[in-house]
Subunit: 391 residues, 2 copies
C-alpha cells in the first residue's frame, strides 16, 4: 500500500454514551499481560476464576456460566440458538432495540415468534405478554432487563410469573445491568441470561458473559437437532470451559484477562455498594438535567440508573450538540435509536464512569454546548446535582 | 464468593504451539490504549486504516474486507453462513481438523456437503476434489490453505481450476498463512477467505480478518433467505464498516487497536521479507530436529513454514515431554489432533516468534526434555540449525 499508517494514539475520551464505558487502569493493564496458551494449566486457573466471579456477579450457581468469545449480541445469539429448535414458540417483549433484535435472531433460529409490542421508553406491562401469548404454551419468554436503547429497567418477577403460566423457559438480557445493579438470576428464576463487558463491568467490548440454568442446560442436552451455530454451540463450548478442556476455538486470552480484572473490581467494591454508587450518580445527573430544564424520557420508577435518557429540547440540534461535546470537551454521549433518533440523548454512568466528576463534567459541557447552539439552558445544573450529593 | 482472586500475573511463556503466537511489545501497548466509542470519528479512521492494511496483507482489493468480532472459527462460520443457503451443494477438501470443521459448519448452514477426504499430513490432490464432485455443478468449493492441525501448505491454483470446472465459488482458510506467507486472494481467484489474529499476525486471539470478492458479495446480495446468524450477517456488518456507519454490534475496540498495530508491523517488515523470515527459521528448525533424529511429518514440498509437525519417537511420552518443556523452559509446543494425537508435536514459528532465539531454545529444551524422559536424542540439533543460518 502507498503509505503505512502510524501507530495509534487515540484521544482519551470521557465515555458517557451507551457503552463502551470507561475502563479502569488495572483493566487496561490486564489486557496487555503476557498471552498464555488456551490450554496452558495457568490459563485454566484463570478460566475457573472468571467463571466463579461471573457467577457471583450474576447471582447464580449455574454450572454453565462463562464468557462467550464475542460481544453482547453474540451472547444474545448464543442463548437463542442454543435454546431454540425450528418450530419452537417464542414470546418476546419488545420495547426497544434489543427486544426487536431478539425477535430477529429468534426467527433466524427457526422460532415461531410472538411479539408483545410496547411503548419505547416505558417498562413492559407483563399483562401485554399474557395477552400476546393468548394462553398458548410457549417454549421461551424473552425480555430485556436493562434496555440500553431507552434507559428502562424492567421488573423481573412478574415476567417470570407469565413464563411459568406458559410453561416457558425465561431468557433475560442483562447487558446493561450486570456489574452496575444486583442481578440475581437464581432468585429470579432466569433460565438463560447474557451480558456484555463494555457496560457496567467496565472492560472494553469483546466478550459476553452468559449463564444457563440446569433446566436450560437439560433442554440443550435434549436437543434433537444440532445448534445452527458451530461457533456459539454451548454443548461444545461447555467441554472447553468444563473439566474436559476439549479444544473448541482459541479463547480470546487477553480479553479474558481484562474481564478477570473487571470482575475482581466489582467484587472488591461489593455489588450492593456498586448499585448504590450507580443510583447515587444517576440521581444527581437527573437532578442537574432537570434543573437545566431538560426532561427525562422515562418515568422515575422505571429508570435504568446506568443509562439516563433525556429529551432533546425542541429547536436544539441533537447531532451538533454531541459533536460540540466531543470536539470541545472530549465527552461522548449517545444519540437515540429508532423512534428516539434525533430527539433523545442517552447518557451513561457505567462502571468506573459512575462518578461525581463525570456528572459535573457532563452538566457543564452540555450547558456549554447548548449555549453555543443558541439554546442556553436556564442553569448549568451543577448546583442541583450538588444538592443530591449533600443528601 | 468466599475469596476474591488476586489480579493476574501470568508467566511469560515462549509460545511455539499452533497459536496463540508471541505478541510484539507494541501490539500489547496498542491493546491498552484508551478505548474510543465505536462511532467516534477517530475510531472510524482506525477502522478504515485496518481495512486498508488488511487488504494489503491479504493481497486483495475486495471492498468487503474487515475483521469479524470473534476468533478464526467465527471467520470460518461467517464465510459459510453468508455464502450458503439451504440446499446449496458444497464441496470440502478434508485433510485435517479445519477441513473437518468446515464440513460441520456448512452442514449446520443447510448445505449438501460432499467431502473429499484425504490423508492427514499431506496436501490435498485436486484430483480427489474432481472425483468427489463427480462432474456436478457446485455452489462452493472449500479448502484449507495452511492446515494448522497438520502443518501442511496447500497449493491454491489447481483448486481454483477445479472450482471453475464446477461453476463454484472458492473459499480458502488462511488462518495460519496470513501475515507469515504471501497471500494473494485476488491473483488466486479466491471468493471468500478468513484468518485469525493469533497466528502469523502476532496479535492475541479475538478477531478474524475476512474478505469477500465482488462475486461473493453479489451472491450475498442475491440471497433469498436471511443469513442464519444475525451476529455474523455480513450484509449488516458491511453497513457498519462501510460508509453508512450503521450501528450493528459494539466493535471490540481495543482488539482492533491490537490488530491495527499487528498489521502495521507486517507491512513495515514487508510481506516477502516476512515470508522469507518464516521460511528461514522453519528450515533451521527442521534441520535441527532431523539432526536430533526426529522426523518431520510432512514431505518437504508440502510443509507449512509457520508450523512444523514432527513425529514423536517411539517410546517417548508426548504429554510428559510437553509438560517438561512448559515447567522447565516456559516453552509451549503443541500436541497432535485427531489421528495425530499422541504421536505428533506441532511447533509454531509464527510472527515475532519466527526467530533464531526460539529455534535454539526449542532444540535445546527438547533435547533436555527427551533426555529427562530417558530418550536422549543423538544431538541437540543446534549445530545443524546453525549451518542453515550460515547459509
Amino acid at each position: 500500500m502507498s503509505q503505512i499508517p502510524k501507530s495509534l494514539s487515540p484521544t482519551t475520551r470521557v465515555l458517557m454514551g451507551p457503552g463502551p464505558s470507561p475502563t479502569a487502569p488495572s483493566v487496561y493493564e490486564a489486557l496487555s499481560k503476557p498471552t498464555l496458551g488456551h490450554l496452558d494449566p495457568e490459563f485454566l486457573v484463570v478460566m475457573d476464576e472468571v467463571r466463579e466471579m461471573q457467577r457471583a456477579v450474576m447471582g447464580t450457581e449455574n454450572e454453565l456460566t462463562m464468557p462467550m468469545s464475542g460481544t453482547g449480541s453474540a451472547g444474545m445469539e448464543t442463548c437463542l440458538v442454543n435454546l431454540i429448535q425450528p418450530g419452537d414458540k417464542v414470546l418476546v417483549g419488545v420495547n426497544g432495540v434489543f427486544g426487536t433484535r431478539m425477535v430477529d435472531v429468534a426467527r433466524r433460529a427457526g422460532a415461531i415468534v410472538t411479539e408483545a409490542q410496547s411503548e419505547w421508553g416505558r417498562a413492559l406491562d407483563p399483562e401485554l405478554l399474557r395477552e400476546a401469548a393468548d394462553g398458548k404454551q410457549h417454549h421461551l419468554v424473552c425480555v430485556v432487563h436493562a434496555e440500553t436503547s431507552t434507559g428502562v429497567l424492567q421488573e423481573v418477577a412478574p415476567v417470570r410469573e407469565v413464563a411459568d403460566e406458559l410453561g416457558a423457559m425465561f431468557l433475560l438480557d442483562c447487558v446493561t445491568s450486570v456489574g452496575g445493579l444486583r442481578v440475581s438470576l437464581d432468585e429470579w428464576g432466569v433460565d438463560a441470561a447474557y451480558s456484555g463487558t463494555q457496560k457496567c463491568l467496565g472492560c472494553p467490548p469483546g466478550l459476553s458473559p452468559v449463564s444457563f440454568s440446569a433446566r436450560a442446560h437439560a433442554a440443550l442436552d435434549a436437543r434433537t437437532e444440532a445448534v445452527q451455530s458451530w461457533y456459539l454451540d454451548l454443548s461444545m463450548i461447555a467441554n472447553y470451559w468444563g473439566s474436559e478442556r476439549a479444544y473448541h476455538h482459541t479463547a480470546p486470552i487477553n480479553m479474558i484477562y481484562g474481564l478477570h480484572e473487571a470482575l475482581r473490581l466489582v467484587l472488591e467494591e461489593g455489588i450492593d455498594e456498586r448499585e448504590a454508587r450507580h443510583r447515587l450518580h444517576a440521581g444527581a445527573l437527573v437532578a442537574g438535567l432537570e434543573a437545566m430544564g431538560l426532561s427525562p424520557r422515562v418515568p422515575e420508577a422505571e429508570r435504568l440508573p446506568p443509562l439516563t435518557a433525556v429529551s432533546v429540547p425542541d429547536g436544539v440540534d441533537d447531532a451538533a450538540v454531541r459533536a460540540h461535546l466531543l470536539d470541545h470537551h472530549n465527552l461522548e454521549i449517545g444519540g437515540g435509536l429508532g423512534p428516539m433518533k434525533g430527539n433523545t440523548w442517552r447518557i451513561g454512568l457505567m462502571g468506573a464512569g459512575a462518578c461525581r466528576e463525570n456528572v459535573d463534567l457532563c452538566l457543564r459541557a452540555l450547558h456549554d454546548a447548548m449555549t453555543a447552539q443558541g439554546s442556553a439552558p436556564r442553569s448549568d445544573g451543577v448546583e442541583a446535582a450538588q444538592a443530591v450529593y449533600a443528601g
